[in-house]
């Protein structure tokens, strides 16, 4: 019997688990996929928004501004890269200036600090590669960037290090109230808990419906991206949005914390909530919209494209509230959900406390997680100390991102443990570079087989039936 079960190991579920692990509680995260951070928390823009977008008084506004404020501290604790690079909302005609003003005023009302409207000269000084037709911008120095799956993996990992459990491949199919507790079942397993948190992202309405809560629904809206080679990560130094117009929102151009340039997202509603495929139309839309604002964008240097699915709630705001005895919804967490997650978590814990969950401090709680990319940031002397102890750190497996065998082995044995090629990729960046795993994938498969003690052909790309090889050759 668990004290608390959380459905969904995205950034929201991950931070709630971590927050709960501060207390003496039996906690379990249930995730239907083969790894954590496989929903919206895997594929998004990675922007820590400043907080001027959401309407004043909404949960979105409140948690975004707070989340952005504590993001630096949280990422330091979790050993996750964070860069406070600031954002710009750029106007490309005089007609758009009133919108900038409106955003500025809303930001001030939401509590965003140091917002300013800057003129063309200042703007082009900050971003010399922008098109000359830019006229002004709203500058938010408090905005930043993180890697969304790195943050999620770290939050879940830290929760696990502090005692929380994680069950992967657990697709919740039914929830039954049995006296004072809940029985949550997948096709082949049932767990029980006293308190249940629904953090199932785009599926959170389906989960709520399992206990009869049909007060809202969640629409899936997909967003496609292009990622450019690191060589061009410096084409932009701030996150550059386009001023929203009657023609729509436009796309953003931003550096990522890992040094690439990201372009996107598109915005299209879809019926199949798990459909994260990219489309020829989507990719060409990103290209043309990018060239409109940054004529020199090196679109030849695309290294990959991907697609995320937003969970758009019918209420227009995050749904974070008690829905039944012992049951809390944390649903429809669309953007700025990544920015808000560290602030949502303590709020959910307070809700649970109000519902009777007793919180006794866990004295051994350690908020610190060792950074995954520790080795590559070390000095030459420190690297040599590590290699002398464990020569695997001297052996480079992924040449594009310079990932060593030592780091890969570590990812296989660190919470939450990597069991597939893609899981290794998200934790170590092996295969994330310009060759996209062309060279290192066979070696990574070999290391996984060895460390997990499974046959070579049993290693998968991302769990399930995603097999890489069909057995030995003739």
């Amino acid at each position: 019997m668990y004290d608390v079960v959380i459905i969904g190991a995205g950034v929201v579920g991950g931070f709630i688990a971590r927050e709960l692990s501060r207390y003496k509680l039996n906690i379990c995260l249930l995730e239907k996929e083969n790894d954590v951070a496989m929903g919206a928390s895997r594929a998004n823009s990675g922007i820590v928004h400043a907080g001027f977008d959401a309407l004043t008084g909404t949960k979105k506004a409140e948690f975004n501004v707070l989340g952005a404020k504590i993001m630096k501290r949280v990422t330091d604790e979790l050993g996750v890269k964070y860069k406070n690079n600031g954002s710009l909302v750029v106007a490309y005609s005089e007609e758009e200036l009133p919108t900038l003003q409106k955003l500025y005023e809303r930001g001030v009302a939401n509590g965003v600090e140091n917002l300013q409207i800057i003129d063309k000269a200042k703007l082009l000084e900050l971003e010399p590669n922008l098109t000359d037709s830019a006229v002004a911008a709203l500058y938010a120095p408090t905005a930043g960037i993180v890697c969304p799956y790195e943050l999620t993996i770290a939050a879940v990992g830290n929760a696990m290090d502090n005692g929380a459990e994680l069950k992967l491949d657990f697709d919740v199919k039914s929830i039954r109230r049995n006296g004072d507790f809940y029985e949550i079942s997948s096709e082949n397993e049932t767990v029980e808990c006293k308190y249940l948190v629904n953090a199932a992202g785009v599926h959170s309405d389906n989960i709520a419906a399992l206990i009869g809560d049909t007060s809202f629904n969640v629409t899936a809206r997909k967003g496609e991206y292009l990622l450019l080679d690191k060589e061009f990560g410096t084409m932009a130094s701030h996150t550059i949005f386009r001023c929203p117009t009657s023609m729509g929102k436009g796309i953003l151009v931003s550096p990522t914390v890992d040094g690439n340039l990201i372009l996107g997202p598109t915005s299209v509603n879809i019926d199949d909530k798990d459909n994260n495929e990219t489309t020829p139309e989507g990719l060409s839309e990103i290209m043309s919209k990018t060239l409109a604002v940054m004529p020199k964008a090196p679109l030849r240097s695309v290294i990959t494209s991907f697609c995320g699915v937003r969970a758009v709630p019918s209420t227009g705001d995050f749904i974070i509230e008690k829905a039944a005895d012992g049951f809390v919804n944390c649903a429809g967490i669309e953007s700025p959900g990544l920015s808000s997650a560290p602030a949502i978590a303590p709020y959910v814990v307070e809700l649970l406390k109000g519902m009777g969950l007793s919180l006794e401090e866990n004295e051994s709680f350690n908020p610190i997680r060792k950074p995954a990319h520790l080795f590559r940031e070390m000095s030459m002397e420190d690297k040599n100390k590590v290699i002398a102890e464990n020569p695997k750190y001297g052996k480079v497996v992924c040449r594009c991102e310079t990932v060593t065998e030592g780091e890969i082995v570590e990812a296989i044995h660190t919470n939450p443990k990597a069991t597939s090629v893609d899981a290794i990729k998200r934790r170590t960046r092996s295969g994330m570079g310009r060759c996209q795993g062309g060279f290192c994938a066979p070696t990574v498969v070999e290391i996984l087989a060895r460390e997990l003690d499974i046959p070579f052909e049993a290693v998968t790309k991302s769990g399930g039936n995603s097999i890489i090889n069909y057995g030995r050759i003739k």
């Binding site: 994260n276 991907f306 040599n384 001297g394 066979p442």
Partner: protein, 418 residues
């Protein structure tokens, strides 16, 4: 920090030939660095034959060709450090590398030969839409699975791109019991050698669909199919011709990209077309004492040419070390005439010796004349029955011709006869 006369980065055919050639030119203090556990580079996984016809006048497999050079390196006792990744090279020829035994270390070299080879274009670079299931590999990765690890990465295969590795893998996968359904090529001609099309596709009844591309990948966990379509003259897919093909594997053989991350780190000027360094006839880059050869300089179709080019670079590096630089008595630019995509070298800095100019054409043409001109004056001319982008061409410019260049430039072009 160690001091070494000549450091060669990459122990494939280019690096080994360069080392042997430098040694024979009188430089004995040489070190070859390679990240793989063996010498030979990509040749180790090319177990088909067709290597060495020009060089050794016999048909060898990749490992056999490589072995010939490994033996020379061994006999000359040229030191080699394997399993060693070079992390950085500076303009001043300081090399930072890492391996299991020595950790991270630095070497000051007098001259450097860059011979890091190339990598294949990935799915991302091709911008194919759709899902991201397992079963999408570059032809080279599939080759590694089959030939080095001994595992079959697919059973029903579609290949995009008719580059040589793709063609070779079409045959290899078929021999291993897989069904290769079709090879799609975006261009109206194949990028591979004619002999490979005959021996790897025609002999196995594998259809080659020219002017076709993959527009979408299907399948959630493992590839379940691809949608292919014909492309128009501007290479845009014609969606009315879209066709679904059921398969479990998509192999990509859509071109090779020289691996010049280290060259970029050393601020070496690169040629936009080749993706490799801009070099002179000695294969010296614009950074003094840093040379480049093999597929890191431009993508070759035959290893024999790689060895030839690497010998030039090795000799150049030896001369550089012995004479503390070069006497450069001219600077003749190579410019691109009709139908020529690039030349190597890109400029000539000495007219003391004959210079062989390698180049590639931009399209398939029959009955042509290859011409080199100094201004309007034709200084070289030769008829050819056929030229194709997949086959490298070369012309020799004599030293006495070089001495008389008036315009400061030589233009290489292809004239269509008839």
């Amino acid at each position: 920090m160690r001091n070494i006369d000549l450091v060669i980065i990459g122990g494939g055919p280019a690096g080994m030939s360069a080392a042997v050639s430098a040694y024979n030119s009188g430089i004995k203090d040489i070190l070859i660095l390679d990240r793989e556990p063996r010498l030979g580079g990509i040749l180790q996984q090319c177990i088909h034959n067709g290597f060495g016809l020009h060089r050794f006048k016999e048909e060898l497999t990749g490992p056999e060709y490589s072995w010939k050079y490994e033996q020379m390196v061994n006999e000359l006792k040229i030191p080699v450090m394997l399993g060693t990744m070079v992390l950085d090279v500076t303009e001043d020829k300081i090399i930072t590398a890492m391996n299991e035994e020595n950790g991270v270390f630095q070497i000051q070299a007098k001259a450097v030969v860059m011979a890091m080879g190339c990598r294949e274009r990935s799915r991302g670079a091709l911008n194919i839409a759709g899902m991201r299931p397992a079963g999408i590999y570059t032809a080279g990765a599939a080759q590694k699975f089959v030939n080095i690890k001994g595992y079959l990465p697919g059973k029903k295969v579609v290949i995009l791109g008719s580059g040589d590795i793709g063609l070779i893998m079409a045959r290899r996968m078929t021999l291993e019991g897989a069904k290769v359904i079709t090879v799609c090529e975006l261009m109206p001609y194949s990028g591979g050698l004619t002999r490979n099309i005959v021996q790897c596709l025609n002999d196995f009844d594998i259809p080659l669909k020219l002017s076709h591309t993959v527009v979408k990948i299907h399948g959630k966990e493992r590839v379940e199919g691809v949608t292919i379509a014909k492309v128009d003259k501007s290479l845009k897919p014609i969606m009315e011709t879209a066709e679904y093909i059921e398969c479990d594997t998509l192999l990509l053989s859509c071109g090779l990209i020289p691996e010049n991350e280290l060259s970029k780190g050393a601020s070496i000027t690169l040629d936009r077309v080749t993706g490799g360094a801009v070099v002179d006839q000695r294969r010296e880059t614009d950074k003094k004492g840093i040379f480049a050869c093999g597929n890191v300089l431009h993508v070759h179709d035959l290893v024999d040419y790689v060895s030839e080019e690497a010998e030039i670079a090795g000799k150049g590096a030896a001369e550089y070390i012995q004479n503390d630089g070069f006497n450069k008595n001219c600077d003749i630019k190579m410019t691109l005439g009709d139908c020529v995509r690039y030349t190597v070298p890109q400029h000539i800095t000495s007219n003391e010796n004959d210079v062989k100019i390698y180049f590639r054409v931009s399209d398939v043409h029959k009955d042509v004349t290859v011409e080199a001109k100094d201004g309007d004056e034709v200084i070289f001319s030769r008829k050819k029955q056929r030229v194709a982008p997949g086959e490298m061409e070369s012309i020799l410019i004599k030293s006495d011709v070089l001495k008389n260049i008036k315009s400061g430039a030589i233009t290489v072009g292809v004239k269509l006869n008839g």
